[in-house]
Amino acid sequence: MDSKKLWESVLVDVEINVSKASFNTWFKDTFIYKLEDGVAYLSVPNAFVKQWMVDKYHGSILKSLRALSENIRSLDYIVNKSDVKREDQKIIKNIPESAGELPLSEFYINKDDNLNPKYTFDSFVIGPFNELAHAAAQAIIKKPGIVYNPLFIYGNTGHGKTHLIQAVGNYMKQNYPDSKIHYVTSEKFTVDYVNSVQNHKVNNFKEKYRKYDVLIMDDIQFFSNKQNTQEELFHLFNHLYENNKQIIFSSDKHPNYIQNLEDRLKSRFAAGMIVDIPAPDHESRTAILKAKLRFHNHVLSLEIIDYLAQTLSSNIRELEGALNTIICQARLKQKELTLNDVKNLIKNSASPKRNLSPKEIIKIIADFYNINEENIYEKTRKKEIIKPRQITMYILREDFNISYPSIGEKMGGRDHTTVIHSCEKIKNDLKFDSVLSQEINRIRAMLI
């Protein structure tokens, strides 16, 4: 039995006989330092613990030790604060190493700037959908801090925002080695800030972020509702902006639609350039697939590429995931995959739009608000009915592109102006009602 196991068994004995609080106070960070000539040397974190062990637990620990291992005769104590700590740190460091298993490890992330070298302009596929954003990024790397400052890129998840902004960072790093570049997610920024407040080190936090020449901040929609972090961002922004340091933001929404974002921030974002990256069109998706295939050194028939581009329409990340699955399968089976194989493989990852009839949609929305389906068709002005009804019209119009008159007809013979009014109303309410937007998002999730 090695000393670690031995000590664990002793602790089990001890834990039964003492209260939880005393156990945590006295036995935390203790371990057997070494076993030598029948003497067990117990490492304890400080002299108080040592004294207490000697006074209170010496007899019972020794008894347990002897019961478990016959050749232990006596017990001694070593105060060993620093070693314990070092060991803890080692354990923490070891975890990521053993968990990082497969080839991606070559893409280490630089700790200073947080940039992932995987994202470069070379691997960025330009299509009609993102050429404006790409052009803006190109302008920035020629004259950082001067042309479009800040650059604000928004678009849905998986449209390549992170790739583009990190590519700017990586390019700058290579071509202006002296400039300090930093990529940070809004979440990391918030955590940093909160920690600095907790540790009374706000100044360090400020100094840390103010020294950068290029600051790239990803997913800033998560700043909504975080007033103090927003304020800090505001000051940081002003500082960097005044000193002509380039700032790049990304978000999944236009700044004006980020809930609870302070106006002064919105207006500052608008001062530079705001670019949208919409969903990639079919040709771009095909081009992206081809680029990824080249990167993986793999060949797929045009038919399959076309099928993938067709089915996985909205999200480049999904496209990449599906492609990885296919390549992995092909390598595993060591043969070319047919179109049918591919269809089978990605039937789960693809999310083709379900063909819902307006009736089914109405049912889903009625269920969501816990009202009777019939009520939606009725001509009642009860508040709890009006809202679901208007949302139904809004969704039918926005997501399913049904014409106003035909929506009116399906909603129990209403006039098309009623429908227009409802859609406008929801659209307006969405701008400041975050609860409503959450509800609609949840409904939309059910409709996919």
């Binding site: 609080a21 400080n46 004294q51 207490w52 105060v79």
Partner: protein, 367 residues
């Protein structure tokens, strides 16, 4: 247990012990103080498992015994009593009864068996040191320690003996550094040690009460001070303090000497207008014989003020954190201070004029 003693003395000792007792420790007895009556003295103990104190005071003991009570209660009670000279403490069942002429108090007790023992430092390394001098050394530097405990060495005060047999106290948080030398006869025996910054205020408070010499016992992990019934022991850190000597600039490019009080007054004014970063701009211009402090806060306003000073060297325009500069001035004993600049990105050295014992280093802020 039953004892009778003078309120004033008891109150002072209890308050001292209560300050050290743990706060919100998961083991409730750590948040207590222990009173123990033996023969003809009362022993008061408290600890937060980092620092421990034991105070022995002579009292009239009727029956021996001991009791653990929550810290804070007895102290605040005793310090507000003025109706009597003496107080009687006695234990009845699970209560400590505190009675004076007009007051009758019961304080809940905790199981005293769980109260930790204060470690006794037993080593050959024992010597006496002047308590006042030791406190002066600690006070001159401890504010410069790092508050966070990421690096144990930086969140402690480094005390060691140098070649001239002075005891040297050093603390740094890597933005500024304070060093104080104290001359004493017994420096040699000190060797070197790191006292955790957290424990310094309590050590200072206890040692401040002491006139004359205090007995010091030192071993690898623990240091203790004992004097006339008071025993305090602290953990010491097992680590290596950074080699700070090499960052102290040898010469200087600009030197300014001024009255300390003038400098303090100007800093106070400047601080009113300092911004969130506490940034203060210092212009030392020997060419124009101008020493100027400037602060700006876009929400409040700005201020520029000048100080009469004696100059030598080159012009320099540099920014600092106000707080870091003002911190050190309390530790400078002479009437005038000298600021030695070494260019924009090099540390500023602050010293008392004709006082070699104290040295303070502060890094400038960039932009």
């Amino acid at each position: 247990m039953k004892v009778e003693c003078i309120i004033e003395k008891l109150s002072k000792n209890i308050l001292q012990a209560e300050r050290i007792a743990g706060r919100n420790h998961s083991l409730p007895v750590i948040n207590c103080i222990l009173l123990e009556a033996t023969k003809n003295s009362l022993i008061i103990r408290s600890t937060n498992l980092d620092l421990g104190v034991e105070i022995t005071m002579p009292v009239k003991v009727v029956t021996e015994g001991s009791v653990a009570i929550p810290a804070g209660i007895l102290g605040s009670f005793l310090s507000s009593i003025s109706d009597d000279k003496t107080v009687i403490l006695s234990v009845e069942e699970n209560n400590l009864t505190v009675s004076t002429q007009k007051n009758q108090t019961h304080i809940k007790t905790y199981p005293k068996e769980d109260f930790p023992t204060i470690p006794v430092v037993m080593s050959d390394k024992t010597f006496k040191i002047n308590a006042g001098e030791f406190v002066r050394g600690l006070k001159s530097v401890w504010y410069s320690s790092a508050i966070s405990s990421m690096k144990a060495e930086l969140s402690s005060v480094y005390v060691y003996c140098n070649d001239d047999e002075d005891i040297v106290f050093v603390a740094t948080d890597s933005f500024r550094l304070a060093e104080k030398k104290i001359q004493t006869k017994k420096a040699k025996e000190f060797g070197s040690l790191l006292i955790p910054f957290k424990n310094i205020p309590e050590i200072i408070r206890v040692l401040e009460e002491i006139n004359g010499e205090v007995q010091v016992n030192l071993e690898k992990n623990q240091i203790s001070f004992s004097y006339d019934g008071v025993y305090i022991t602290s953990r010491v850190i097992d680590g290596i303090f950074p080699d700070y000597k090499q960052i102290i600039p040898k010469g200087n490019t600009t030197e300014v000497v001024m009255l300390k009080q003038d400098f303090i007054n100007s800093l106070k004014i400047a601080n009113i207008f300092s911004n969130k970063l506490n940034q203060i701009n210092i212009k030392a211009l020997p060419s124009k014989k101008v020493f100027e402090l400037q602060t700006k806060n876009s929400d409040v306003g700005d201020n520029t003020n000048t100080i009469d000073a004696v100059f030598s060297g080159e012009d320099v325009d540099i920014n600092f954190n106000y707080k870091y500069i003002v911190d050190c001035l309390q530790s400078i004993e002479s009437d005038s201070v000298s600021l030695s600049f070494n260019g924009i990105s090099k540390p500023l050295v602050i010293r008392g004029v004709s006082d070699k014992s104290f040295l303070y280093l502060v890094m400038p802020m960039n932009k």
